[in-house]
């Protein structure tokens, strides 16, 4: 992966730069998907961040809970029917006590589904090389263009500089210019 990027000191300037890149993207031969923002902390209330806020995690967790609960129900009832204990007239499959297992497995299903969805949607893990810079952990926000077209790389750099980026960098060789 190659990239041209700069480090913005605050989210306002990052948003400004992202907006500029979006406007210029068609002209410079890349799409919005090539614009990368990387930060060391989450930001809310900015379009570069909030456009990714929508997710299906809550309904999927509920579905996971239903699956877990169904597994709990089947585990208890099928087990009890497979080897019916002598219960002295009490029910072979008691709803009250089985309900506890069903409840716990419902919650376990929801938790595991959330975890799996997080890993798929984030996505994690990714062990290949990815665009980052140690300075993001000092509060700066990386804004860049991933895999810029060779033909327009120079124009993209010029656009960054014209937009006020004094510290333009390249990935993988992140030597400051």
């Amino acid at each position: 992966m190659r990239a041209i990027y700069t480090l913005c000191p605050d989210p306002d300037s990052a948003q400004h730069l992202v907006d500029s890149l979006r406007l210029a993207s068609l002209d410079l031969g890349f799409t919005e998907n090539h614009i990368v923002v990387v930060s060391g902390e989450p930001y809310e209330g900015y379009d570069f961040s909030d456009r990714y806020a929508k997710s299906y995690m809550f309904p999927l967790a509920a579905v996971g809970g239903l699956v877990g609960g169904t597994c709990g129900y089947l585990l208890t009832t099928l087990t009890q029917k497979a080897y019916p204990l002598v219960t002295g007239g009490m029910p072979i499959t008691p709803a009250w006590t089985n309900g506890i297992i069903v409840y716990e497995l419902t919650m376990l299903g929801a938790i595991l589904t959330t975890l799996v969805y997080l890993f798929l949607a984030a996505p994690l893990p990714t062990f290949g090389s990815h665009l980052t810079d140690p300075e993001i952990w000092e509060g700066k926000i990386l804004v860049g263009v991933a895999d810029p077209p060779e033909a327009s790389a120079a124009r993209i750099e010029k656009m960054f500089l014209q937009a006020g980026a004094s510290d333009l960098r390249r990935f993988p060789s992140s030597a400051a210019r």
């Binding site: 400004h16 907006d19 210029a24 990714y52 975890l115 810079d133």
Partner: protein
């Protein structure tokens, strides 16, 4: 003065890179306790569980006391952290990870204790539901099987709840460390990059987890209480046991959390992060729980006394004014008489004050667990079946070892993980903007001269 992100990063990652001599002395002491426990356990496996003081009719004593105590301590973390997250309490940021770590370690220790108790630990897998070739299945009507499911769920949820917010911090270590450390944390952080998509998914996942973990935490200690409440033993068959145990668990949990925070603050020099306000706020919670605990204890004793049922009164009087009276009144002093004034008077609700109150509460709550279990078992319905229990060196060693193990796990945790969430502290520096900034899109056509529209910041 407000800290910068760089300062926060430096301060909170420092304990991972530099450890004092005191730290290693503490690790050595805790390791000695753990070693003593391991040796005792091996001796017990070799000779049999007869080296414990258990006898008819007291088949549960120190071990189950420790089990209930540690599961209770575990309620400090995930439950409090989850509630504070859901309430979006801003002061939670330095507290949550310390708390979540307590949960994971305490539940793990709690889960080990039944394995010790069964005497033949290599048969512990009998608890796991699997299709046995002998067609012997776990009995899902047994509270012990409920314990298995509850603890597995709670441990899974709590571990996830602890580990997920660590991923970005491990990425920070990866990007700042060198050598082997860089490789290890590079693997641990799963290739975390820090894109907005990842941040949103992580925060949403934490939100879902927080919602799921609160009822699980409540259910776990309710189920632990049902280990007793489902048994026809005097003063055990009580509908109040569920909430009584949950309140006691949260009570002891907060006390444990305050002590852990105070130790971290002192040994890791985190005075700028774990501030007096955190101890004051937790102190207020502790005060509430102390009053609630007293209410439940009073309600339980009152209904027993009013009912005047002979078998229950035998247990009642043995705790109030006979053999176990010194322990009972020590418990009341530790859980109510000492902490309430300290926590109620603002001038006394200092770091030292909350630590003193927490120490007495941890002691008092351990005694409470013991008093729930042993006096009742010693005085089952028929007087000829009464017995007497006295702990042996093996049980005391295993108990001390469990405390040492907790201490050791926490020390090692502080060495390998930032004990305060770095990214959450940084996120606390800025407040979300009131309105979206999408409207700030530059309106000049692409390709035109952008010099007239410099970035708002010094890029």
């Amino acid at each position: 003065m407000e800290k910068t992100p760089t300062q926060i990063q430096h301060d909170l990652l420092r304990p991972m890179f530099h450890s004092s001599k005191r730290y290693w002395i503490a690790v050595a002491l805790a390791s000695c306790l753990v070693l003593a426990g391991v040796c005792t356990f091996l001796y017990q496996v070799y000779t049999g569980i007869g080296i414990w003081g258990l006898n008819s009719p007291v088949f549960w004593a120190f071990d189950i006391t420790n089990f209930v105590f540690w599961i209770g301590i575990s309620h400090a973390g995930t439950l409090i952290s989850a509630i504070l997250r859901l309430a979006n309490a801003t002061w939670r940021r330095p507290v949550t990870r310390c708390a979540e770590a307590i949960t994971v370690f305490a539940v793990s220790i709690g889960a080990i204790i039944p394995v010790c108790h069964i005497g033949r630990p290599w048969l512990a897998y009998y608890l796991i539901p699997y299709p046995s070739e002998r067609h012997i299945w776990p009995n899902f009507r047994s509270p012990l099987a409920w314990d298995f499911f509850a603890i597995i769920t709670y441990l899974t949820g709590s571990t996830t709840f602890l580990l997920l917010p660590m991923i970005p911090d491990w990425a920070a270590v990866r990007d700042t460390a060198t050598g082997l450390r860089k490789k290890i944390y590079g693997t641990l952080c799963l290739g975390w990059q820090g894109t907005p998509r990842q941040w949103h998914r992580l925060e949403t996942a934490m939100h879902v987890m927080a919602i799921a973990i609160v009822p699980v935490a409540v259910s776990v200690h309710t189920i632990v209480s049902w280990d007793f409440a489902m048994t026809p033993v005097p003063m055990w068959r009580s509908t109040i046991f569920g909430p009584y145990f949950v309140v006691g668990a949260i009570f002891s949990g907060i006390a444990g959390l305050i002590l852990a925070m105070a130790l971290l603050r002192h040994f890791l020099h985190l005075e700028d992060y774990l501030e007096p306000i955190h101890f004051q706020n937790l102190g207020k919670l502790l005060l509430t729980m102390s009053l609630l605990w007293f209410y439940f204890t009073f309600a339980e004793r009152l209904t027993t006394w009013y009912g005047n049922e002979p078998s229950e009164m035998a247990v009642f009087w043995t705790t109030i004014r006979q053999n176990f009276a010194p322990m009972f009144w020590t418990m009341v002093v530790c859980n109510f008489i000492i902490p309430v004034p300290i926590l109620a008077i603002k001038k006394l609700r200092t770091i030292t004050g909350t630590c003193i109150a927490s120490t007495t509460i941890v002691i008092g709550m351990w005694i409470e667990r013991f008093l729930i279990i042993v006096p009742a078992l010693e005085h089952k319905y028929l007087p000829y079946a009464y017995g007497h229990y006295r702990p042996t060196w093996a049980e005391i060693t295993l108990m001390a070892s469990s405390f040492g193990f907790m201490f050791l796990l926490y020390l090692l945790f502080a060495k390998f993980v930032p004990v305060i969430s770095v990214w959450e502290m940084k996120a606390g520096l800025h407040h979300p903007a009131a309105t979206p900034h999408a409207s700030r899109v530059i309106t000049v056509p692409a390709g035109s001269d952008l010099d007239d529209n410099p970035l708002p910041g010094n890029v």
